[in-house]
């Protein structure tokens, strides 16, 4: 029964729970047991609370028993990134400075998960304040890639991707600021989506870069991702940047992966030199696959994408330097050096020196510099201009294609420690995903095979216009189905932690 439950998709599990074939408690216990079994190796969770999870599951079961109409994911367990506030579990954002903090309020995404009846198993590991591409910047140690424990699971939402890939949860939440959902999804062989900016609420998401942060779903298949996307997205009056528009019909699109006549643009600038050959090979095979399914494929040039990484590393640190100023030891979190003789300023300074890790400090310093008087125009100002140019490239491209595609990441999962001492090498992991964050449109990563040289998953990135998220699911579903029929089995069944 256990293995069977773990193999079910979230949609199947939800249907079985609603039909009374399985209880949420049974499903939750199975996943909690799985966590107990493998998380010592994978280290996906920062916090898992058996009793709290079972209590939620019992509540859902009694709602179902009482005949309440619940959504498609009611009773289904989920792993929740530790960047979302939760009233019943600590929230650290992967940082020492928030160790032991118990938020007095739920993030909007958290509340919506609860309303939809999802059972939160625990909080997943992440790069500190979502700054990184490997989870190695977590103050609590790195998570491991279930495909190869010596490799990173991607980041910053690497605990979430590792949890879902290791069957410790059927679903997980993430946030994507420069690729923090799509890149870990790609290197763990999962589906991960970055909704349109403002399509999902940032209220209760511990901020990294406010103009870029976007909550989104992880799942083992496209339909599950769409169901989760739909469950927590939509307008939130508590987030001024939230879009007051209906959630795009992502579930409908995920059920009908039809690309006949769809115009697909291959981004010239996200191809070629610097990419792992096996990644490119699987990418181009997938493009051919789409062509075979009736899509019209053309090459598209987005020249400003070449400057996206540089612009991102000015805008994101600038915003974070201000967002992270609130961690000052006054109201919550770590407090260092308060021995009754030191001034508030000294305590703030000592706390921040001890509470933040080196990557966070690096970005705070970069951002502080970029916003400084006399440098603002040259750095932050020019970066905003680049952002406008990138938007224009997208607008121009979407004038004659429906979606754009590229590899999600230039390489498959790299080894733990390999890039830890080289920030630039680490930053390059987000080369293909960053333009979408800067422009605010939607994108999704879907597995497209294993790289021949290392046997590790490769992701295809599908990018669509603002509020056309459904197109990314449509293409994702088509690729998923075609790949499954070509391979004869789901990609994830080949992972070391397959069940």
């Amino acid at each position: 029964m256990g293995t069977e439950l773990l193999r079910m998709t979230a949609a199947e599990l939800g249907a079985a729970i609603r039909a009374g074939e399985v209880t949420s408690v049974a499903a939750t216990e199975t996943y909690l047991d799985r966590i107990g079994e493998v998380d010592g190796d994978v280290r996906a969770f920062l916090h898992a609370d058996r009793e709290a999870a079972l209590e939620q599951a019992r509540a859902v079961d009694s709602r179902i028993a009482a005949g309440e109409e619940l959504g498609p994911l009611a009773g289904v367990p989920i792993a929740h990134k530790d960047v979302f506030t939760t009233t019943d579990m600590p929230t650290t954002a992967g940082s020492r400075i928030l160790e032991g903090w118990n938020p007095p309020y739920d993030a909007t995404v958290t509340s919506r998960l609860r309303e939809a009846g999802l059972v939160i198993l625990g909080k997943t590991n992440m790069d500190e304040f979502a700054m990184g591409s490997s989870t190695e910047n977590s103050a609590y140690g790195a998570s491991h890639n279930p495909w190869d424990l010596s490799r990173v699971p991607g980041g910053s939402s690497g605990g979430s991707s590792a949890a879902v890939a290791a069957y410790e949860a059927p679903l997980a939440t993430g946030t994507d600021t420069g690729g923090s959902i799509r890149q870990p999804a790609a290197v763990c062989g999962l589906v991960g989506a970055k909704p349109t900016y403002g399509g999902s609420s940032r209220y209760g998401v511990i901020a990294f870069a406010s103009s870029l942060d976007t909550p989104g779903p992880f799942a083992r298949n496209v339909l599950d991702a769409a169901l989760l996307h739909e469950a927590f997205s939509g307008h939130d009056p508590r987030d001024s940047t939230s879009v007051d528009a209906p959630v795009p019909p992502v579930v409908e699109a995920a059920r009908h992966g039809d690309v006949e006549g769809l115009r697909v643009g291959v981004v010239k600038e996200l191809d070629g030199e610097g990419y792992q050959p096996g990644v490119l090979r699987r990418f181009h095979e997938t493009v051919e696959l789409l062509e075979g399914l009736g899509a019209k494929v053309v090459e598209v040039s987005c020249p400003s994408f070449d400057t996206a990484l540089a612009a991102y590393y000015l805008i994101a640190p600038s915003e974070c330097s201000s967002n992270l100023a609130r961690f000052d030891a006054m109201r919550y979190g770590l407090r260092v050096g308060d021995d009754g003789t030191r001034s508030a300023e000294e305590v703030m300074s000592m706390t921040r020196a001890e509470g933040f890790g080196p990557e966070v400090k690096r970005r705070i310093m970069l951002g502080t510099y970029a916003l400084s008087s006399g440098y603002y125009d040259a750095y932050y100002g020019s970066a905003q201009q680049v952002r406008t140019l990138i938007k224009r490239d997208f607008d121009a491209a979407f004038g004659h294609v429906d979606v754009l595609v590229s590899p999600t990441t230039p390489t498959t999962a790299f080894s733990i420690g390999e890039r830890a001492a080289d920030p630039m090498a680490m930053y390059l992991a987000d080369l293909c995903t960053i333009p979408t964050n800067l422009a605010g449109n939607s994108a999704l990563s879907v597995p497209c095979g294993l790289a021949p040289e290392d046997g590790l998953p490769v992701g295809l990135q599908v990018m669509a216009p603002v509020l056309a998220d459904d197109r990314t699911y449509r293409v994702g579903a088509a690729v998923e189905a075609a790949l499954a029929s070509k391979r004869g089995s789901a990609l994830l069944s080949e992972s070391a932690y397959a069940v």
Partner: protein, 498 residues
């Protein structure tokens, strides 16, 4: 340096930055209450405490108030503007940045006219308004232990975040030149006029003593005939109209002294000392703090439509300047009488009393004499007395209809101020009605005649003027409640001289 010598040698240039706390029900970016005086840290939430993950949402009423003040100040209202973050660390600022506006303020380029008395009669000055922008207030820090209540020497500090996030408007003047010796009065008149404007618009209670109107005064001097401004100081903590005047005067004298001694004025923040009337140095601004302003990415731009702005313009009430002109003409006041009313901050109170039915002269008399004296005695502003214009009007009416004498009316006012209820309740409870009933009065008159045989004899002998002594005795016997005229009539009648 004596003030007369200062203004002979130097021309002051002023700049005033005024913060008005808006009277909205909720804070600028969250739904917490803004009521003054709550228990510390009871009017807070994740947003105004800057808990991780919390986000601001703009209070639409605050934007509306800002636009209305901007319109009343003859400003242009931007069709699109943004909030910016002003970054600096301070324990009473939860986010360690203040959400404010920087290079894209909501209202710009207006003016406000003020009148001050000069040796040659009233002089009008047009004060240019640089900008009106929206921002949020900080919390309040208190320093415990130590003698001064200041941070130096304190044992520890405590922070109250109830005020954090209260909406503020900052109104910045253009440089004010050419006021010369009248500079202190001009500054004071400007703050007064701005205060009255905000009050007339109903956007703030503008109580300087509670900090809902705060003023920073920038002063610099240039030699008379010069064209290059001197270095300025910025004086904070100027918490009353009188202090505005004193702070400007003090800074002019202090800076002149520095210049005369051949030294240079330091660009710095100074604090006004209420007790001594002087300013003391705060932190130096010589090395300008870098606030790293940038547009707040948590908020969307504010873009008031032209239609909305015009709708708001149509809701502007009669503004104080227009009201003064109307009242002077309606009540036929001399310039001096009007000035007295303005200086006493009584114009709105008197007008409301007149609206409640009192004749203007009576209403003025009560507020400018009796009530002004009570306000001074109890050290509250006139508007802070616990009596309403309607209650004053009722007292006036009771005197007019003969129920009260002026002396009794003062006792009724005492009762109202004392919290004994409405004027009629006080009259009833204290038994303060005038005795004009002949049977009650007759007994007192008889007693007075019997007790004062000499005076009675004089009256009988035709010395009617001696009746005064008997009337006095009647008044004394009745505790002042007798109708003195009727008492006199009865005395003369009984003594056969009427």
């Amino acid at each position: 340096m004596a003030y007369d010598d200062v203004v002979r040698a130097y021309e002051p240039v002023l700049g005033l930055e005024t913060h008005v706390e808006l009277g909205t029900a909720s804070k600028m970016f969250c739904s917490c209450s803004t009521v003054f005086g709550g228990e510390p840290n009871t009017q807070v939430c994740p947003v105004c405490l800057a808990l991780p993950g919390a986000l601001p949402v703009v209070n639409g009423t605050a934007v509306e108030s800002a636009i209305r003040l901007g319109l009343a100040l003859n400003c242009s209202v931007a069709s699109w503007c943004r909030f910016a973050r002003k970054n600096y660390f301070y324990p009473d600022m939860p986010k360690n940045y203040q959400i404010s506006q920087y290079d894209e303020p909501l209202c710009t380029d207006g003016h406000l006219d003020v009148t001050v008395e000069s040796a040659d009669g009233p002089r009008e000055f047009r004060i240019g308004i640089e900008r009106v922008h929206m921002e949020e207030d900080t919390g309040k820090t208190a320093h415990v232990g130590g003698a001064t209540g200041r941070i130096h020497g304190a044992d520890y500090s405590i922070v109250d975040y109830n005020r954090a996030g209260i909406p503020l408007l900052e109104i910045v003047t253009k440089p004010i030149e050419g006021a010369g010796e009248l500079a202190p009065e001009v500054a004071r008149a400007y703050v007064r006029e701005l205060r009255d404007l905000a009050r007339a618009l109903g956007i703030s209670d503008v109580r300087m003593e509670e900090g809902s109107l705060r003023c920073d005064v920038n002063v610099s001097l240039m030699p008379v005939g010069g064209d290059e401004w001197g270095t300025r100081s910025e004086t904070k903590n100027v918490n009353s109209l009188r202090s505005v005047d004193r702070a400007v005067r003090h800074e002019m004298e202090r800076q002149a002294g520095v210049l005369e001694a051949g030294q240079r004025v330091v660009q710095e923040t100074r604090h006004f000392q209420e007790d001594s009337g002087s300013t003391v140095s705060g932190r130096s601004k010589e090395e300008a703090q870098d606030y790293r302003y940038f547009p707040d990415p948590d908020l969307v731009p504010v873009a008031p439509s032209a239609e909305w702005v015009e709708e708001l313009r149509a809701t502007l009430p009669e503004l104080p300047a227009a009201k003064r002109v109307r009242i002077q003409s309606e009540w036929q006041l001399s310039d001096e009488e009007l000035r007295d009313l303005v200086n006493a901050d009584a114009i709105d109170l008197v007008a409301a009393t007149v609206d409640a039915g009192a004749p203007p002269a009576e209403a003025r008399k009560w507020w400018l004499n009796e009530l002004s004296r009570r306000a001074t005695e109890t050290e509250v502003p006139l508007s802070g007395l616990p009596i309403t214009s309607a209650q004053v009007a009722r007292v006036v009416a009771l005197v007019e209809e003969g129920t009260l004498t002026n002396k009794l009316a003062r006792q009724v006012v005492d009762g109202v101020l004392n919290g004994e209820g409405e004027p009629d309740d006080v009259v009833e409870a204290r038994g303060l009605k005038v005795l004009s009933d002949d049977s009650a009065l007759g007994a007192a008159v008889d007693t007075a005649i019997a007790d004062n045989p000499d005076a009675a004899e004089k009256i009988r002998g035709g010395k009617v003027a001696a009746a005064g002594a008997l009337v006095g005795a009647v008044m004394k016997a009745t505790g002042g409640q007798a109708d003195a005229g009727r008492a006199r009539e009865l005395i003369l009648e009984r003594l056969g001289v009427s």
